[in-house]
């Protein structure tokens, strides 16, 4: 019972890291980026390639798994995403689905369609017992990393100059620009960091979630649920939503396996039905 709760929390934390970039692009910048999972997949594959072809250690690959997607994200933001900021949500959706399809096919072409295995170092394998509850070492490691990232994110967004500039730019681009804030650069940086976090989540999650070319499609809906259910006011809503979804999903798969992902989708529809702005949104 407690083990399930623990696994659910680990899963939820991972979802939060994966979706936190989307919480910023979709939640704050109001851009529907369905291709967010593609950046996560990129991170996962960076780790796989570095470990398998260059024999790097798991931990050493994590910074690269952050930087590569961040770089790709920055380039794409500058070239393709930027012109679409003002377009309708539908256009953004179609554009980013296009990116998803392209990334799925491209990864399939270069890496093959099989599941990729990531071997975590031996000191992260296995589990230990606390008061009769089996706790996976790797999962506790993931939870630790995610808590650090979450605290860091919240701190940057709420307490730093960068964070307040970003919030200002999101609230009113024109005025922010008039005050001398470099809105374009700010958005590029934010997008890059969001993509990088997705990549980090993809690398961390490869062991727990599995990694194959259909990753962006399989998890797209989960990221979207985290953000839309969590509300788009900040990071705390998505954080709670991610934990909630992680626990419900793991518990659901354990107790009612035949329902599959039913519970999650139903949960999302019900929440959106009664609170179209999300659970924790402040009415604007």
């Amino acid at each position: 019972m407690l083990t399930i709760l623990f696994d659910g929390v680990a899963y939820g934390m991972l979802l939060f890291i994966l979706a936190s970039g989307l919480a910023v692009t979709l939640g704050l910048m109001n851009f529907v980026n369905l291709a967010h999972g593609s950046f996560a997949m990129a991170g996962g594959y960076v780790t796989v390639v570095l470990m398998q072809r260059y024999g790097m250690g798991f931990l050493a690959t994590l910074p690269v798994a952050f930087l590569m997607p961040a770089l790709i994200g920055a380039v794409l933001e500058r070239t393709l995403y930027r012109p679409l900021y003002d377009k309708s949500h539908l256009d953004q959706v179609l554009f980013s689905i296009g990116l998803v399809f392209m990334s799925v096919a491209a990864v399939d072409y270069f890496m093959g369609s099989q599941q990729q295995l990531v071997h975590v170092p031996s000191w992260l394998q296995g589990r230990f017992d606390i008061a009769g509850t089996g706790i996976g070492r790797y999962r506790s490691f993931v939870i630790g990393v995610c808590i650090v990232v979450a605290v860091l994110l919240q701190f940057v967004l709420a307490r730093t100059r960068f964070g307040s500039q970003l919030r200002a730019a999101v609230d009113d681009q024109r005025v922010a620009r008039g005050l001398g804030i470099e809105v374009g650069l700010l958005f590029t940086l934010t997008f890059a960091v969001g993509s990088g976090l997705a990549g980090l989540g993809g690398a961390l999650g490869a062991e727990m979630l599995g990694l194959d070319p259909t990753f962006p499609l399989k998890f797209m809906i989960y990221f979207l649920i985290v953000v839309t259910v969590g509300g788009r006011a900040g990071l705390i809503g998505p954080f709670i939503a991610a934990l909630l979804i992680g626990i419900v999903d793991v518990a659901g798969k354990y107790y009612v396996p035949e329902a599959g992902a039913f519970l999650i989708y139903a949960l999302m529809i019900v929440v959106l039905l009664f609170r179209p702005q999300g659970l924790f949104a402040v009415a604007r």
């Binding site: 949500h89 179609l94 998803v100 799925v104 499609l217 039913f262 989708y265 999302m268 529809i269």
Partner: protein
């Protein structure tokens, strides 16, 4: 406010407002139709190019007897796209889960043929009814919220239906799908043949009839009021259009159309699998509509023709990575290709009009 309107105190008329003489009685309708009604009638008239379009569709099997299976796919996709156009192009409801209705229609038709009766028309009707029931129920979910909520909710409904079909193995056959569907002849006269001749003509006939109905409805005041809702929901409701009721009706209607497309798919391929509910069906459909243009009924049809031809050509070259090219097409189209294509289309139209071969497809949104 128009400039130059004098802001005089209100009761400028010598008489108190209650006894201002009533406006002259409306002119008799028979002679002197109101301009709005004239516009409706004009839009309803058939253009020469429309006759041409359907004639080509009808004689195509004589010219290309070998590609009737492909043509059948085109007709079905066109009906499916027509269905999405009803809600997206006319009512402005975005949907990422339209495959739900296609899939429900396909399963309903397949199950009906396997367990009850193998008559195609009865199956078609059952599929349309089942899909429209789902459409009616889920229509209440898309009334609220923003575009983003709607995208999520439609996607969620489609995923729910997919999961249901996947888990309910005893009914749907799970991942194996429904196999061995054998259909009776259409109307008791025309057997389904291997070359797909009956299949194509059957699909084309259904497409044509449903197209006629859609054309009539979208040209009617009902269709015009849908466009008013699409363009400005608040203003539409302020001028007395019952927004929610109309959206429910058109969503249910579109679901029935998609269900019909699903039924045609099940009956002519004699097979239903989970593929009909997959997400890529909904996404491909969006691409079809983007290629053809939304908000006019021929958009879906022309888009379906181009999409299938493109798919046929690319899939023959690289069957496994076909999705890559769909993705590229989407990205290019949204990032500016669409404007270029439509501009070229407008230039072509002007040129044709200049050549005095007027006769274009009607109902195009400017």
């Amino acid at each position: 406010m128009t400039a130059g309107t004098p802001s005089a105190p209100l009761p400028a008329s010598p008489l108190p407002p209650e006894i201002v003489p009533a406006a002259p009685p409306p002119a008799p309708l028979a002679r002197d139709v109101a301009p709005a009604e004239q516009a409706v009638r004009r839009a309803r008239r058939w253009k020469p190019a429309e006759f041409l379009f359907w004639t080509v569709a009808l004689v195509a099997p004589l010219v290309l007897p070998r590609s009737m299976l492909l043509m059948n796919e085109i007709a079905i996709l066109a009906l499916f796209a027509l269905s999405l156009d009803l809600i997206l192009g006319y009512a402005g409801i975005v949907s990422l889960g339209h495959a739900a209705f296609l899939g429900v229609g396909a399963y309903a038709a397949g199950l009906f043929a396997l367990n009850v009766n193998a008559d195609p028309l009865a199956g078609l009707l059952v599929a349309m009814l089942t899909a429209s029931a789902l459409g009616f129920l889920s229509s209440f979910l898309v009334l609220r919220g923003t575009d983003l909520t709607r995208l999520m909710v439609t996607l969620g409904v489609a995923l729910l239906v997919f999961e249901a079909a996947n888990s309910w193995r005893s009914l749907t056959g799970g991942a194996d799908g429904l196999q061995g569907i054998a259909m009776d002849p259409v109307l008791g006269l025309f057997d389904f043949d291997l070359k797909g001749r009956t299949a194509y003509l059957y699909s084309l006939a259904v497409l044509f009839l449903l197209f006629l109905a859609a054309r009539r409805m979208m040209g009617s005041p009902f269709g015009l009021s849908l466009r008013a809702i699409r363009d400005n929901r608040l203003r539409a409701s302020a001028s007395g259009v019952g927004v929610n009721g109309r959206l429910v009706v058109v969503y249910t209607l579109a679901a029935a159309y998609a269900g019909a497309a699903g039924a045609l798919l099940a009956q002519t391929t004699q097979f239903v699998s989970l593929d009909v509910l997959e997400f890529h069906r909904s996404a491909d459909l969006m691409l079809v509509l983007i290629i053809g243009g939304t908000g006019w009924l021929y958009g879906g049809l022309i888009g379906a023709v181009l999409f299938e031809l493109f798919q046929d050509a690319v899939a023959a070259a690289t069957p496994q990575y076909w999705q890559f090219w769909v993705g590229l097409l989407l990205v290019v189209f949204v990032s500016g290709g669409r404007e270029a294509v439509h501009k070229a289309g407008a230039a072509l139209r002007r040129k044709i009009a200049g050549l005095k071969i007027a006769g274009l497809f009607g109902g195009r949104r400017p």
